[in-house]
C-alpha cells in the first residue's frame, strides 16, 4: 500500500518528474501525429489512386494500340467467370501531346497526357465523373451556355482564322508554314482539362496567403498537338494539331493527374490520329474488389498471347509509390521512437537524482520494515506512473492535433503568412489523417515500457541501498 501512496505523492510533489512526463508526452504526441498523417497520406493516396485508376487495365504494348476494342470486350463478356465479376468496361485511347494556350498575352505550352474517352462508359468504370468540376457526375463534352458565349466572343465568324493564326506559334522562317489547323470547324471540338493546367497558386500580395488564379475559363481556346500515324500500318508519324474549347475541369486532387491529364472524345481522337476503331487500353471495373487477382489471372489466360496485351491491376501500376510510402512510414517510426528513447534517458537521469534526494527516506522505509523489493517497486511503479501519465496526456494531445490538424495548419499559415502545407506540392488539398487505435495502443505501450525500463537502474540502486548508510546520509 505504501508503494502506491508514495509514488502518488512523489508524482504530485516532485516537479522535476514533470519533465519526464512532458518528454514522454511530447514523444507520444509526435508519434501519434506523424503516424496518423503518414497513414492518412498512404490511405488517401491509395484511395485516390484506386479512385482514379480502374481496377484492372488491359494495355497495348505501344501507343499504336490495338484494333477492335469492342470485339475484345465482347470476348471478355462472353466468358462466364468474367462476365459475372465485371461491373463495367470501357476502351480508352491514350497518347502524349502538348497543350498551348494564351494567358494574358503570354503563350504557354506544356506537355500533357491526352486521353480519348467515351464519357458515359468512362464514368461507369469510376474515378472520372465525380472529379469533374462543372458536370459533376454527368460527364459530357457539351459546352455550357456561358462557355458557348465566350467561344462566340472569341471567334466571331469573320475573325476566326485570324485569331487562330495568332494563337499558333509563328512558323520558322526557313520552313514552309504547316497546314493551318482545322480552326474553322463549327461547332468547335471540346476538351476537359486537368484543373492544375488551368489554375496556378500565386502570392499576389506579400501579406496574404497564396491564392488560386485561373488561366483558362470555360469556353477558352487551347491547341492540342500530338502525332498521328499514316502510311503502311501507320508506322510513319507526323504531327497533328487542332483547336478545342475548354468545357470542363478534371480535379482529382492528385496533382500529378490534375497537371497532366486532358480528356477528349475518343471518336475524335481516333479520327484525328487516323486510327479508327483502335484503342490503347481497356479499363475494367470489377464488382467485388476481393476478386481482383482472380479476374486478372483469368484475363491473362483468356487473351491470346499474340495480341500482346498486358493485364495490370491498379496496384501493379502504382506499386513502387505505394511501397515507398510504407517504407517511409517504417523508417519514420523507428526514428521517432528514438524520441521516446531520449525521454527514457531523461527518466534515467531524473530518477537517479530523485533516488539520491530520497536516500534518507529509503533508509527510513527500510527501518520501518520495507523490503528491498518493496523499495524497488516504489520506483518502478513511479516510472510506470510517469510513463502512463505522459502517454495518456501525449495520446490526448496527439489525437487532438491529428483531428484539428487542418485548422491548426490554417491558423499557422494565417499567423506566419507562410504556407505550411503547400497544396501545389502535395497531392491533397487538405492534410489527410488516419488515426489508427491499434497504433496508438502500440505507441502507448512502447512509451510506458521504455519509461519502466529506464527506471529499473535507479530503482535497483534505491533497493540495494544499505539502510544504515541511507539513514546517515546527509
Amino acid at each position: 500500500m505504501y508503494k502506491l501512496l508514495l509514488c502518488w505523492r512523489y508524482l504530485l510533489t516532485r516537479y522535476l518528474a514533470l519533465v519526464c512526463i512532458v518528454s514522454v508526452m511530447l514523444g507520444v504526441a509526435t508519434l501519434i501525429v506523424v503516424n496518423s498523417v503518414m497513414a492518412g497520406f498512404s490511405t488517401k493516396l491509395r484511395e485516390r489512386l484506386h479512385g482514379l485508376l480502374s481496377d484492372i487495365v488491359i494495355e497495348a504494348h505501344d501507343f499504336q494500340g490495338f484494333a477492335n476494342p469492342e470485339g475484345k470486350m465482347a470476348l471478355i463478356q462472353s466468358d462466364p467467370f468474367l462476365s459475372q465479376r465485371i461491373e463495367a468496361m470501357t476502351p480508352t485511347l491514350e497518347i502524349f501531346g502538348m497543350i498551348q494556350f494564351n494567358c494574358n498575352g503570354t503563350a504557354i505550352a506544356r506537355p500533357v497526357h491526352i486521353i480519348g474517352i467515351d464519357p458515359a462508359g468512362r464514368a461507369r468504370v469510376g474515378g472520372f465523373a465525380e472529379h469533374l468540376l462543372l458536370h459533376k457526375g454527368k460527364p459530357s463534352f457539351e459546352l455550357s451556355s456561358e462557355a458557348r458565349e465566350r467561344q462566340h466572343a472569341l471567334h466571331p465568324p469573320h475573325r476566326l482564322d485570324r485569331i487562330a493564326a495568332m494563337l499558333l506559334p509563328p512558323p520558322p522562317d526557313d520552313k514552309p508554314a504547316p497546314a493551318p489547323p482545322p480552326s474553322s470547324e463549327s461547332p468547335p471540338s471540346t476538351i476537359i482539362i486537368g484543373y492544375a493546367i488551368a489554375h496556378f497558386r500565386a502570392k499576389l500580395n506579400p501579406d496574404t496567403p497564396p491564392e488560386e488564379v485561373r488561366t483558362l475559363a470555360p469556353g477558352d481556346d487551347v491547341i492540342i498537338t500530338t502525332i498521328k500515324g499514316h502510311g503502311l500500318n501507320g508506322r510513319e508519324l507526323s504531327p497533328v494539331q487542332w483547336r478545342c474549347a475548354v468545357c470542363d475541369y478534371f480535379k482529382s486532387e492528385m496533382s500529378e493527374y490534375d497537371a497532366n491529364y486532358v480528356f477528349v472524345p475518343i471518336e475524335e481522337l481516333q479520327r484525328l490520329r487516323a486510327m479508327p476503331n483502335r484503342a490503347t487500353s481497356i479499363q475494367i471495373r470489377i464488382k467485388d474488389y476481393r476478386d481482383l487477382h482472380a479476374v486478372k489471372e483469368r484475363l491473362q489466360a483468356l487473351l491470346p498471347a499474340h495480341w500482346e496485351l498486358a493485364v495490370h491491376t491498379w496496384e501493379d501500376k502504382q506499386g513502387p509509390l505505394l511501397a515507398a510510402i510504407s517504407i517511409e512510414k517504417g523508417i519514420l517510426n523507428v526514428l521517432l521512437f528514438m524520441i521516446i528513447a531520449v525521454a527514457g534517458f531523461g527518466i534515467l537521469a531524473i530518477f537517479s537524482m530523485i533516488v539520491v534526494e530520497k536516500t534518507r527516506d529509503i533508509g527510513i522505509l527500510k527501518a520501518l520494515g520495507a523490503s528491498n523489493r518493496g523499495v524497488l517497486n516504489i520506483f518502478l511503479s513511479y516510472g510506470l506512473l510517469l510513463g502512463a501519465v505522459g502517454a495518456v496526456l501525449g495520446s490526448a494531445i496527439g489525437t487532438a492535433i491529428t483531428i484539428y490538424i487542418n485548422e491548426i495548419e490554417q491558423f499557422l499559415t494565417k499567423w506566419t503568412g507562410h504556407e505550411l502545407f503547400d497544396r501545389s506540392v502535395y497531392y491533397f488539398n487538405e492534410i489527410p489523417t488516419d488515426l489508427n487505435p491499434g497504433s496508438v495502443l502500440v505507441i502507448n505501450l512502447g512509451a510506458v515500457a521504455i519509461a519502466v525500463l529506464f527506471s529499473v537502474l535507479p530503482a535497483l540502486r534505491a533497493a540495494l541501498l544499505h539502510p544504515v548508510r541511507a539513514l546517515r546520509y546527509e
Binding site: 505504501y2 501512496l5 527501518a367 520501518l368 520494515g369 520495507a370 528491498n372 544504515v468
Partner: protein, 251 residues
C-alpha cells in the same frame, strides 16, 4: 521464570566499518542483555558505537561476529524478509532527526508501518479502524490537533512525538531510540523522556535508548556505558535498577 530470561541479548558483537582501505573497529565484543519492561540507556562519547549497537539490535545491520538473540533465538542471521518483518512488528525505531517522510501528513506517517505490513486489499479493508488507532495514538502523544499537517509544519518536539506514534502503531515489543532528544532543547527533551517513561511504565514497553545526554538518563532503569566498542561498565544490579545514574562517574 520467563522474566528471568532476557528479551533481547547481544553476545560478543563485533562490527568494523571500512572506509576505503582503513578499517575502523566500532564494536569489539559487546555483551548486553535487556529484559522485558526495562528502560535501558546506552551512553558513550560520540563514535563509541552506540548507534551501531542499536542498529545491530534492531536488525538494520549485521554484526561481523557475535549473535543477537530475541527470546533466546538468534535473529541476526535470519533471511532478509524475516528481518524486515521483525523491524516492522517487533521493533519500533525513533531517531534524532525524527525521520518522518516529508511528503506525508502526520497521520500518514504514523500509519506507514501498517501500510508496509499490509497488502493493498488488507489495507483498504481495515483502513478505518487503523486510522482510528493512529488518531488515538497521536492523541496520546499530544498531537491530536496535528493530524493533517506535513512534517515541515511541525516543531521539533511535535515531529518527535509523531515519530514515537509511528514507532508504536504496530505495538512493538521493543522501542529503539537513537538520541531522541539530541535535536531538542532541554524542556522538549524532558517531555519526550517523560512520554517514553510513561509508555514504559503503563504498557511495560521495553525501551533501549542511546544518548550522550547524561541529564536524561537519570529517568531510566539502567545505564550501560560503551567505551571503545565495549560495554565498560553496567549497573545491572537488581531489576529494575533505579540508581543507574549514581553508578556512573560524574560528567
Amino acid at each position: 521464570m520467563l522474566d528471568n530470561l532476557p528479551l533481547l541479548a547481544a553476545v560478543n558483537l563485533h562490527k568494523t566499518y571500512r572506509k576505503h582501505a582503513i578499517e575502523v573497529p566500532v564494536l569489539t565484543g559487546v555483551d548486553l542483555e535487556v529484559f522485558v519492561g526495562e528502560f535501558l540507556s546506552i551512553v558513550g562519547s560520540s563514535g563509541s558505537g552506540k548507534s551501531t549497537l542499536l542498529h545491530l539490535l534492531g536488525t538494520l545491520d549485521k554484526p561481523d561476529e557475535g549473535r543477537i538473540l530475541l527470546d533466546s533465538e538468534r535473529i541476526d542471521n535470519l533471511p532478509a524478509e524475516q528481518r524486515d518483518r521483525l523491524r516492522n512488528e517487533t521493533f519500533g525505531f525513533i531517531f534524532q532527526f525524527y525521520h518522518l517522510l516529508p511528503e506525508l501528513t502526520t497521520l500518514e506517517n504514523v500509519l506507514m508501518p501498517k501500510m508496509i505490513a499490509l497488502p493493498v486489499r488488507g489495507w483498504f479493508r481495515q483502513r478505518r479502524s487503523l486510522k482510528q488507532q493512529a488518531i488515538e495514538l497521536l492523541d496520546r502523544v499530544g498531537l491530536g490537533h496535528r493530524l493533517h499537517h506535513k512534517p515541515r509544519e511541525l516543531s521539533g518536539g511535535e515531529m518527535q512525538r509523531a515519530a514515537i506514534a509511528r514507532a508504536l502503531i504496530n505495538r512493538p515489543r521493543i522501542l529503539l531510540a537513537d538520541e531522541p532528544t539530541g535535536n531538542l532543547d532541554a524542556d522538549k527533551g524532558a517531555e519526550i523522556i517523560r512520554l517514553l517513561r510513561d509508555l514504559n511504565r503503563q504498557d511495560r514497553l521495553t525501551i533501549i535508548m542511546v544518548t550522550h545526554n547524561m541529564e536524561i538518563v537519570g529517568n531510566t532503569d539502567r545505564v550501560v556505558r560503551l567505551v571503545k566498542g565495549r560495554v565498560e561498565e553496567a549497573t545491572n544490579g537488581e531489576r529494575p535498577a533505579l540508581a543507574g545514574w549514581s553508578a556512573l562517574p560524574a560528567g
